[in-house]
Assembly symmetry: C2
Homo-oligomer: 433 residues x 2
């Protein structure tokens, strides 16, 4: 295939697919496809609800069209699949979106086409799960290392993991080095060349699809484990009556100390990707010790926060029956409206097990989203002298601006404030991580 013949189809227009489509459309004719028709309607009006791409960028993307019609998608010859790869309730990979996207692309695949996956998966998933579906649906073969000389009709597959950091305006698609790979050496080279057209930071061509898959999944696993370690320090130091932030500040003066902070690990990446790796590991009989220890710690932090709060409330002789707690912040990250997989939910659930009345306040979140996703009715207004406990769960700038005394006034005289994110200095409130 020549670059000038390229027509790119991107399947899945979320926070990964849409910015990628915009970039590719600067060089190639690009079709953006999503099964969510209201998303397509929005995008046609130059509106991106994820706030990753501006209306102006969408307006300027003249070679980018949006559709939910596979007939239009069929005109492409270079498909990029950017659908979500979440986990289910049992913390097992939920490959349904990936399977659906593979089915869809498999049906329209033509000889010589290339399909590149960007979704985070475990090593082997592309070859073991996706390619068989593409082959079955298309009735074509996938060219790979063992059928290199096959003269039959076939297609090529690649894997190029997304590294998008939502909300991060300095690390954008074009200026993050991108890993590429392909099912044959020539396909890998070609895929790499296509990405190099839009990635100004350059690419790293991995030796195999599995290496590229493994590289992606260990990146977030490493982050998860490092945060878990700091959470373990925080829980231990709390028992020792040592302020964790002070310890981290002191340790941080060593040249090679890594500056991680304790906290809840939510969102669609760091708390999710490790389970893809551990799923595969357990399938082949390797029982991950440290990765799962990290997951156990991080998944338990919501419950820990509640236990710690209640211990403090009881010790301060605050009656627990009919107690009322305010949670400030619902999102998985500060200063953004994203509530996907937020671990603040664990705090709410745990509090409700004690029959505690919980109010949730988050100036970034729409009540519709909170209701739809978690059946939570956000409070819109903060009343003074109203709570027995306050949990500062997310470090939104609004809470910092609100200041210490305003936050304290929301509680009764004897109430406890838990500053989970160490938003304020160590001696300000009663408890912190």
């Amino acid at each position: 295939m020549d670059l000038e013949d390229l027509k790119i189809g991107i399947i899945g227009l979320g926070y990964v697919g849409l910015p990628l489509a915009v970039e590719f459309s600067k060089k190639f004719l690009t079709v953006g496809f999503d099964i969510n028709s209201s998303r397509i309607i929005d995008l046609k009006k130059n509106i991106d609800a994820t706030l990753e791409v501006t209306s102006l960028d969408l307006k300027n993307a003249i070679d980018l069209s949006f559709t939910n019609d596979t007939k239009i998608l069929k005109e492409c010859n270079f498909y990029i699949i950017t659908v979500p790869t979440p986990i289910n309730q049992a913390n097992q990979p939920d490959l349904d979106p990936l399977v659906s996207a593979s089915n869809l692309v498999g049906e329209i695949l033509k000889p010589g086409d290339i399909v590149v996956y960007e979704s985070t998966v475990y090593p082997g998933a592309t070859e073991e799960v996706c390619i068989p579906i593409l082959e079955k649906m298309s009735k074509l073969i996938c060219f790979n290392m063992s059928n290199l000389d096959d003269l039959g009709n076939g297609f090529y597959v690649g894997y190029s993991p997304e590294r998008v950091n939502p909300g991060d305006k300095s690390h954008t698609v074009a200026n993050i080095i991108k890993i590429t790979s392909g099912s044959t050496p020539s396909a890998a080279q070609f895929i790499d060349r296509v990405y190099r057209e839009i990635i100004s930071a350059g690419t790293h061509l991995a030796n195999s699809i599995r290496i590229a898959e493994a590289a992606k999944v260990i990146e977030n696993t490493q982050r998860d484990v490092n945060i878990a370690l700091i959470n373990e320090f925080a829980m231990l130091f709390d028992l020792l009556d040592i302020d964790t932030e002070e310890v981290l500040k002191a340790a941080g003066t060593k040249w090679n100390f890594l500056p991680f902070s304790p906290g809840l690990v939510g969102g669609h990446c760091i708390g999710v990707d490790p389970y893809y790796l551990t799923h595969k590991a357990q399938l082949i009989g390797y029982h991950p010790e440290i990765i799962l220890a990290g997951r156990r710690i991080n998944d338990g932090m919501g419950s820990y926060v509640v236990q710690r709060l209640i211990k403090e409330m009881v010790c301060k002789e605050i009656p627990m029956v009919n107690a009322k707690v305010l949670i400030m912040g619902l999102t998985f990250k500060e200063n953004c409206p994203d509530i996907r997989n937020t671990k603040v939910i664990d705090i709410i659930d745990e509090l409700q097990k004690y029959n505690i009345e919980v109010d949730v306040y988050d100036p970034w979140v729409s009540n519709d989203d909170a209701l739809k996703e978690y059946n939570i009715n956000l409070i819109k207004k903060l009343d003074e002298d109203n709570y027995d406990g306050i949990i500062l769960a997310v470090s939104h700038k609004q809470f910092l601006e609100m200041g210490v005394s305003k936050i304290k006034k929301l509680g009764h005289k004897k109430s406890i404030v838990f500053d989970v994110k160490c938003l304020f200095p160590s001696d300000t409130f009663d408890i912190r991580l």
Copy 2:
């Protein structure tokens, strides 16, 4: 106390105490004390067997005297204790050297004296273990936050963790930021001021001794856990037939990926310090998940290396009865003679459980040391066509210089080479981490 009245006594002249004594002697009269009389004899001849300080530096240190006589030490008023804090066979802290040094200093302590500990300990050890000994032996009280106004005869204590990286000539005592702390605010300020006289990188005055202790012990724990995670990746990827180094190289192209490598974790710090923290944690009823998971993985790597080698040998139809294996490298770190707590011993022990004949070769290690420490007779000469298996355990530059074909020739035609440290490219030898 005024700075000009200061006379510093340093107890323990190992790789921490000696460079520190040399630095302090540039500003203050300094006495170096060690119970090892042959070490004192050497130092008086300007010879440092640890290679941390040159003869010229020792010769130039005119205000530094060496002794093993406590009467001379008694003339000091600012004591710094830099004795080792190892672990015992059961991976529990061995505080014997610290207790002995505290007994010794306690006996000579005078009102107004200051004692600073630099040895790595768990949070609380200085106050719970060392100070009571000093008080008992000296019959003086230690001034602290709760007896600040006491007018009786007393002394002060501080904690300022060493951060020496043996063999590292760019991160030396004077240019690593140093954490300081003291039992009272004024003692802390004074101790900080004393260290600032010699630490050009500056100091970080922690709010309490416990914070300083905690900061030190988490630094190496973080390193240990990060290496353990990479070791877990390596074992998993080996089962998946994925080259770990390739994966790490690809992941390393992300801006925030942390570049750790798999390997044996030996030496006197990284594999030891976490056990100090976990000991204290378990004492107070907190059972560390991730720290101990890391320790389990890293302590198991020697045995893993052997199992992996033997699997490969058996699959390649190499008879295991009377098999002979060469181990290249015995030290805990490359290009140094340090064999303290080297995990290569675990490889040797595990091989011997199979009745395999083991030769150990290390151009950096004296046979006397290897015999004394581990009852190992090093081979001096490498014979060709002599081994069924070769383990490249340490990445000494001599092995790299030796090159692939020379190393291969040491083995029989069918022998297996395990390149533990990935010293050579991935397709050179049979197995690597």
